[in-house]
Amino acid sequence: MEGTTPATARIRDGVPLLEMRGITKRFAGVVADDGVDFDVRAGEIHTLFGENGAGKSTLMRVLYGFHHPDAGEIRLQGSPVSIASPADAIRHGIGMIHQHFMLVNTLSVADNVALGLRSSRGPLTDPGRVSERIRQLSETYHLQVDPQALIWQLSVGERQRVEIVKALYRNATLLILDEPTAVLTPQEVDDLFAVLRRMAEDGKGLVFISHKVREVLGLSDRITVLRAGHKVGTLPAASATRDQLVQMMVGHALPARDLAAETGATEGAPDRTPSDRAPSDRATAIESGPGVTVGAGTPVTPIPATPAAGAGTGAAAAAGAPRLVVRDLTVRGDRGADAVRGLSLEVRGGEIVGIAGVSGNGQRELAEAIAGLRRPSSGSIVLEGTELAGGSPARGRAVGLGYVPEERMRDGVVPDFSVAENLLLVDSHEPAFSRLGFLRSGEIRRHCEELVRTFDIRTPTLEAPARTLSGGNIQKLIMARELSREPRVLLVAQPTRGIDVAAAQYIHDRLREQRGRGIGVLIISEDLDEVMALADRILVMYEGAIIGEAAPRASTRASIGLMMAGVRPEAPADAGPRATA
């Protein structure tokens, strides 16, 4: 086994850099990790793989001193250590890029990088030198960041780059990366991997966490799979296959096509013919169940005019009348410059429109403008006759806009509210849930239990605060809330960021099902594979405008990638079949 891993050659001596033995961590109501063994050798990239809530982040947070393990021991280079705080971890040369950003929003990039560092100027800060070093690093590693920018002005992708720069700056010997690629573009991911490989060659140990099987297989030396807090096994990446990994992860095999589509295995356009789309067993079970869309008592609005409505199979319906029409929209970004520049687009009922693009090209501002969170400086946003531009989020919701924001921890959940409260946040005035302004707890419980079950949200109880859920389960919670409503138009930013393969498949099926009901779906995603797998039409956004349109079936990753880089398509973009069969 070891003979096949490239890491073997780099190992200096027999002792692993890190050994974790029998790590157990319990939280009220859950055992996040149960006697897990894990080790990292110098010069290797070791991936932790597993479903949402499997215990990956918790294991790494134990290592970083954020959690005290209930049992188990940690050895670094053979000697037992006690890591009681992140400060201890840093002292031992451990660095961590966390799943949720660890950035101070009001400070500049340089100040964030400087936190906890020694300064060359004694007690004084040294912003000049830090900025200079950041510039060097971002040049060497192709990580574009402006040291002077304030964190709150940055897009999620940019923030992730800051986190990576922070880790690079510290020169850790053991670096943990908890889903670092979830918010990066394919190009950025390639750049990051080049950096990581170089670090491994330098003899550092890396722990990598990702839900993207392709990345995991491409980058790792070894892979350890966790399931429900237990270690399922460790295998060399060279001999591992996608199916094997996923089977270990969920404990049973998933139908092959799911994996192909959701892990981006196919280069170019995935085959999307409906006959090929056999729903996964889980999805089937749920779709046939009653009361899927809304809690008992809420009438499901019948939507006529769409042939495929009610079928729920996810087949693309013939696109209907325009539901959402955006005209000449201009939106100012946080830094004062226009982030969206005269953008127009249209979403019809029964189609999925995907916006692809490198992060920071105005996607966030576009989404926020449509959602009513940001006031456009000109242009219009019309949802079936109602002008949304300049209105409030409530106005959009009132006329049937569903919205899943990009940064869920900040915009999507109230972290201290319980799972149930978060599931109800926008629905609490519905007659089914409140009578004369009082919440009806029985109905609510039923509704929430239903959602937790169908979306497979792993939570000990409905009362657990949302912040205690694993990253992917928070995503599922918001998706559950928004998809359980009956929107006219659904706007989803990064639908499956941070969501495990099986759950991503499920969410995709639900989005297709929404399309089948005649709902207009607009997804904004930096994951090109996802856009290509889901969308009927792909709009590529560059510097605040739509630079071109592509039909997923007629386009390749490369041609869309070019547009994402700002190269206009030569011939007028092939509009593709507006109504996909």
Binding site: F66, S85, R91, L107
Partner: protein, 319 residues
């Protein structure tokens, strides 16, 4: 208005504003670390009574007595703040409850009054009082002389502290870490910064400054002790921190503005200007309303700078 009058108004604004500057700076430091301290009024009273008592007891040269008295006043405030730190950071009692409890415990009819009685200093006339120090003989210069160069040592100290705190916050590493702790304790912790220590230290230092501010009443303004003599200055100091958007330079201006409004009535009367006294006594409150309204305009709100973790205990494991 003639120049003399204007100078008189400014000079008394500084006198009445100085305890606000000191206590306000202390509160600013605590709040920057994320700890809301509503015990300022109590801490000021403890500083006032302790400072006065010490100055009455000690013998020796006046300046030495006053310095020791000031130090002891700061220690009294710091000890009170330490209780608040322990309750709100370690035990994680609600910060509002803990702060209010301290003010009630130490305030009027509380510990400070009791100490005054036990020490028997009520009604005594003070033996020492801080007097104006004419710096470099520049006090004679018209207008700026009396304002800038003829103040008591407390005033010079408060100016030095404003500069020091501003420099500390924006130029030093510890100051940067402090801002990070107040804004996002979790991120600070992840970078190896000891959140608990930062909160303890800044809350305690903040209490020491409140104690000093209190001592200004009994050692500088008027050398006597009466129950509750700070008369709400602690509360104004807390409000000032908000008005100042958590910035020391703005805090200094705000404190003098409040100082001017509180003293305008007497100053004008002393200069023979007749105005209804009700008008003047309502000025500080009027000003509070105006500033609050200003602070809530969109523009101000975007820059307001409330430390995001203010009032929220930090628990590492509850991520």
């Amino acid at each position: 208005m003639n120049t003399d009058l204007i100078v008189a108004v400014i000079v008394s604004a500084i006198a009445y504003g100085t305890p606000l500057v000191l206590a306000g700076l202390g509160e600013l430091l605590a709040e920057r670390s994320g700890v809301l301290n509503l015990g300022v009024e109590g801490m000021m009273l403890m500083g006032a009574v302790t400072g006065f008592f010490v100055s009455q007891q000690l013998g020796g040269p006046g300046w030495a007595v006053l310095i020791v008295a000031m130090i002891m006043a700061a220690v009294a405030g710091a000890l009170m703040a330490l209780i608040h730190a322990f309750l709100s950071i370690t035990v994680r009692v609600n910060q509002i409850v803990s702060g209010l409890a301290l003010t009630i415990f130490a305030g009027m009819a509380g510990l400070s009054s009791y100490a005054g009685q036990v020490w028997g200093i009520g009604g005594q006339h003070g033996l020492h009082q801080l007097t104006r120090v004419d710096l470099f003989g520049l006090g004679e210069i018209p207008v700026i002389g009396p304002i800038l160069f003829d103040q008591d040592p407390f005033v010079y100290l408060s100016w030095g502290l404003v500069v020091l705190v501003a420099w500390y916050l924006y130029r030093t590493r510890t100051g940067l870490y402090l801002r990070a702790v107040g804004e996002s304790p979790r991120s600070a912790d992840a970078m190896g910064i000891n959140v608990t220590r930062y909160r303890y230290v800044h809350t305690t230092v903040g209490g020491a400054l409140a104690g000093l501010g209190g001592a200004y009443f009994t050692l500088a303004i008027a050398p006597i002790w009466t129950d509750g003599l700070t008369a709400g200055a602690g509360w104004i100091a807390i409000a000032l921190v908000i008005f100042a958007f958590w910035r020391p330079d703005v805090l200094l201006l705000g404190a003098y503005l409040f100082g001017a409004l509180s003293s305008l009535g007497f100053t004008l009367q002393a200069h023979g200007v007749q105005m209804p006294s009700e008008f003047f006594s309502s000025l500080p409150y009027l000003m509070t309303v105006v500033v609050l309204a200003g602070a809530s305009t969109t523009l101000a709100r975007r820059r307001i700078g409330t430390p995001a973790s203010l009032g929220v205990p930090y628990v590492r494991e509850e991520g």
